[in-house]
């Protein structure tokens, strides 16, 4: 853990100074202020040149007020005492127009929920990277890819979050992130590589570019594969997406209460193979996130599936009270969407990818998925496409490339038929937004259904 210094988009003192007036606003019984600030430099390249290049400084302050048993929130992008006080007034006006909320548990009391320690997944060298530094990295990617048509990003960012309340909540945490992606299109096929870490120096752009180029080269001459149910080896990028969707459809307490999560009917049941443990764990070394949720409750590691057995969901104060359990510190900032598992981790196993492949007599190797969406929440049935490298496995060896498949398969069914979990994990940034991460190994899945194919 490194204490943040240079490059912080907002300091703990900034948060306190800007919030002080709002926390004492007349007319509210309790007030909470959440400040989220970021400084993000994202250099985007395509057709092997930089096409877009942005530096974004963003700050948002969310003021939640309680008036009796009514609650409302107002937010502003202006981090000044006056702006936050005005936001508090707008929230009070809204709360008064609202209705009593019998299920609102009140704002967290630090004497009940405890004090949250920051994770500080912070690297100062990453926080202070310049546009020139990022351009250098893009040139290194382009050189290593040896491609005339490479596309992707190189991004560095610094994020800080503060939560303070009139009840005494006082939390601050910060993290950095460096993300690079590379897609190589050789005119006949495409290949993919990516890397993500909180530490700029751990992102090996040349390795990412070489991997993308090698995948693309290996994909030449692809033909249609035959849809059906197969044994597959899913590389970490593919598994990371499945994890994100498992978190989305089934790991939160609100989905349990509303009957949409698999945990509503299958908690305590065996839902996955013995070697499968899925947790929300911001403390995992590859995770990037905060030590508390967006109401200042300390975040806990929550094993949602442990040794293949379904356990319980992540909760916030509201849903924990409803389920009569302790809160796990996963308030998403919205009672409408409920608590969220923003740092899903599939715990590593013991197998190397090469071992997985060597044990498959007839199956497929999947590099990653594209445009995944939910078909049925309670069963975790998803659909999506494979992309940037799908290969036949024959007699334990990677054989010919095939055109992309559409899959239609349940995440839980894939985990239930899992025959091996990779020993190496990779961290992934979310596709949208900057909050959270996924940590995933490769998976050897016994049965995975490809429903149709496409022309490339």
């Amino acid at each position: 853990m490194t204490e943040p210094g240079a490059g912080l988009p907002v300091t703990k003192e900034d948060v306190k100074r800007a919030s002080a007036q709002a926390l004492e606003i007349p007319g509210a019984d309790a007030v909470e202020v959440v400040v989220a600030a970021s400084a993000t430099g994202l250099t985007r390249y395509a057709v092997s040149q930089i096409i877009q290049n942005t530096v974004r400084n963003e700050t948002r302050a969310y003021v939640r007020v309680v008036v009796g048993d009514r609650v409302a929130t107002a937010s502003t992008t202006q981090l000044t005492p006056d702006s936050l006080a005005r936001a508090a007034e707008r929230a009070i006006e809204a709360a008064r127009a609202s209705r009593p909320d019998a299920e609102f548990p009140g704002l967290p009391d630090p004497s009940d929920v405890g004090k949250a320690d920051p994770v500080f997944r912070w690297d100062e060298a990453t926080a202070v990277r310049t546009p020139s530094d990022r351009a250098v990295k893009v040139r290194e990617i382009l050189a290593a890819s040896q491609a005339t048509n490479a596309a992707g990003i190189f991004e560095t960012s610094a994020h800080a979050y503060g939560v303070v309340s009139s009840l005494g909540i006082d939390c601050f945490d910060a993290y950095t992130r460096c993300v690079t992606t590379c897609l190589v299109d050789n005119g006949e096929s495409t290949g993919w590589g990516d890397a993500s870490s909180h530490d700029f120096d751990r992102v090996d752009v040349e390795a990412v570019a070489r991997r993308a180029a090698e995948k693309a080269e290996r994909g030449r001459g692809a033909r249609d594969g035959k849809p059906g149910t197969y044994e597959v080896v899913l590389e970490p990028a593919a598994v990371g997406v499945l994890l994100d969707y498992l978190a989305y459809v089934g790991m939160g307490a609100k989905q349990v209460i509303e009957g949409e999560s698999f945990l509503a009917s299958r908690a305590g049941e065996k839902v996955a193979a013995d070697g499968v443990t899925v947790a929300d764990d911001v403390f995992h070394p590859e995770s990037v996130g905060l030590g508390f949720d967006l109401e200042g409750v300390p975040k806990k590691r929550v094993a949602v599936i442990e040794g293949g057995v379904a356990k319980g969901p992540v909760t916030d104060l509201r849903t924990a009270r409803k389920l009569n359990v302790d809160p796990t510190g996963h308030y998403s900032g919205s009672s409408e969407y409920g608590p969220y598992a923003s740092n899903p981790v599939l715990e590593p196993g013991t197998m190397k990818v090469e071992e997985m492949i060597s044990s498959v007599a007839d199956g497929f190797l999947v590099t990653r998925f594209h445009y995944v969406n939910v078909l049925e929440r309670p069963t975790t049935l998803l659909t999506g496409m494979t992309r940037d490298g799908t290969f036949r496995i024959r007699s334990g060896e990677v054989a010919e490339p095939v055109h992309n498949f559409r899959f239609a398969h349940s995440v839980l069914d894939a985990l239930a038929s899992t025959r091996g979990v990779g020993s190496d994990v990779a961290g992934f940034a979310p596709e949208y937004g900057s909050f959270g991460s996924a940590v995933a190994p490769a998976l050897h899945v016994g049965e995975f259904t490809f429903a149709s194919t496409t022309s490339h």
Binding site: T54, V55, A74, S75, S98, A135, N149, T190, L375, T454
Partner: protein, 481 residues
């Protein structure tokens, strides 16, 4: 804000930008969500800031800030210039912009009743009366009502001399009923899924929708779905309602005709397109019934505006004429690639904090003739699907699978049994090629989808789609596993 954006523009030009534009944006929004008898969310958002886009040595730079003090315009302009100079170290071809007259204008979206002037108590009360009626239907686990209101004022100035102020108001509302039986969940929405119907309009939209008057039927359909038979897996005639046609147009026509995708600029994230720039004028995209425009000028569309986010005047552009691809959505940077001397005005940015990208405006399937009943009456054996529920399409926008909330059998020209979990799949040009009827103007409606994602950093855009129900022959339906 106006003084601030001018100061940033002057600073960017003085610092060496060959072209610069600055957008200041001030957005106020209100989101209400009611669940059963509880106000689940009542959020008021205010966002203001500015973004500076510059060209230096043929390369783009962009920087933005929410700080509105006197020193920030110079600092952000200098950062944008620094970014552009870094970009210039890795470009193969310098950016060139096609000409656009420097417009000096003010534009306001039309509406009758300012949604922010309506008392919050009344909005909450309306939603609660609707959710109460849904909750009273046995079998309903969750009854939800939502309202989303937005007002966005923006100022755009450019080194070409453009000076444009715009003021846009959007209103949205909708209902969702969740019915649960054991491990099965069924959802029914009104008038559309994913927070209802979005339009460039005022509160009159909410009043016209009559949410309470449609609440009970919506809930009853959700419950009925629990005991309905599943949609069979077969190849049949498919009739889609306007809401699902909206999603079909969005994913399989809107995105593939974005010229930045066609040119490979989105390859690593959202993907590219099965369409090439040489396909214009030749490619048969669909049957002769398929006529599709990009039109930023229509009333009610949340993709309507006066000028896009690089100062190009709103236009109506043909994308597909009688089934043949004839155009693309372009920008000042990309228009020349298809031989155009002018952008057709589709560059849009989410808020002040983003670089504008080619985004859909209102992508419309033009009406044909007749009613939904007419489409159905010509079907001996088929399926009618309504209200989008899920979507997925490959990175070139060919292989798609969509799901709807509800369906009905069609037998001998009439609707029969209700069916649950309806899905269909296809390949884009084959699917549009199978379109043999589009309903007429009386069935045509401009829908809005507020959550179109694209770009890195990711931007969410509000886009519109004018559609009416349409019929497709020999479609694979019921595909899941």
């Amino acid at each position: 804000m106006k003084d601030l954006v001018i100061k940033a523009l002057d600073s960017a030009v003085a610092g060496g930008a060959s072209y610069a534009d600055v957008r200041g944006v001030d957005t106020a929004s209100e989101a209400l969500s009611v669940r059963d008898d509880t106000v689940e969310a009542l959020d008021r958002v205010h966002s203001s800031g500015f973004g500076v886009r510059v060209l230096v040595d043929g390369a783009w730079g962009f920087a933005c800030s929410a700080r509105l003090d006197d020193r920030e315009p110079d600092r952000i302009a200098a950062t944008a210039l620094e970014v552009a100079r870094a970009s210039a170290t890795a470009i193969a071809r310098p950016v060139e912009l096609v000409e656009e007259p420097p417009h000096i204008a003010t534009w306001r979206s039309p509406f009758e009743k300012d949604p922010f002037s309506v008392a919050l108590e009344d909005k909450v009360g309306l939603l609660l009366s609707a959710t109460e009626q849904m909750s009273n239907v046995p079998g309903i686990r969750v009854a939800r009502g939502t309202m989303d209101l937005l007002r966005q004022e923006s100022w755009f100035v450019s080194s070409d001399g453009a000076d444009i102020a715009q003021d846009i108001v959007h209103t949205a509302g909708g209902l969702e009923a969740l019915a649960v039986d054991g491990t099965e969940v069924q959802t029914r929405s009104y008038p559309g899924s994913f927070r209802g119907h979005f339009a460039s309009a005022g509160y009159e939209l909410i009043e016209e929708m009559d949410l309470p008057g449609n609440a009970q039927r919506t809930a009853e359909e959700a419950v009925a779905l629990l005991s309905a038979p599943s949609c069979p897996s077969t190849t049949t005639t498919l009739v889609l309602d306007g809401h699902q046609v909206m999603l079909q147009v969005h994913e399989s026509v809107g995105h593939p005709t974005e010229l930045d995708r066609v040119l490979g600029m989105e390859a690593a994230f959202a993907g590219t397109s099965f369409v090439g720039i040489r396909d214009a004028g030749d490619l048969r995209y669909g049957s002769e019934h398929v006529n599709i425009t990009a039109d930023a000028t229509i009333a009610g569309g949340i993709g309507s505006f006066g000028y896009d986010d690089e100062g190009v005047e709103a236009q109506r552009v043909e994308l597909i004429r009688n089934g043949i691809l004839v155009g693309f959505q372009t920008s000042r940077e990309t228009a020349a690639a298809v031989g155009a001397s002018r952008s057709n005005g589709t560059m849009r940015a989410e808020g002040w904090e983003n670089f504008p990208l080619i985004r859909m405006t209102n992508i419309n399937l033009l009406p044909g003739a007749g009613s939904l009943d007419d489409l159905i009456s010509d079907v001996d054996d088929g399926i009618y699907m309504a209200t989008n529920k899920s979507w997925s399409i490959d990175d070139k926008r060919k292989n798609f699978q969509f799901g709807c909330e509800i369906a009905w059998e069609i037998k001998d020209g009439k609707l029969g049994r209700m069916l649950k979990d309806p899905r269909y799949t296809g390949i884009t040009p084959e699917f549009w090629g199978s379109c043999d009827a589009v309903a007429g103007p009386e069935a045509w409606k401009v829908w809005g989808t507020p959550n179109c994602g694209k770009g890195q950093p990711g931007q969410t855009m509000r886009v519109g789609h004018g559609t009416s129900p349409a019929r497709f022959r020999n479609v694979t339906v019921g595909v899941a596993q």
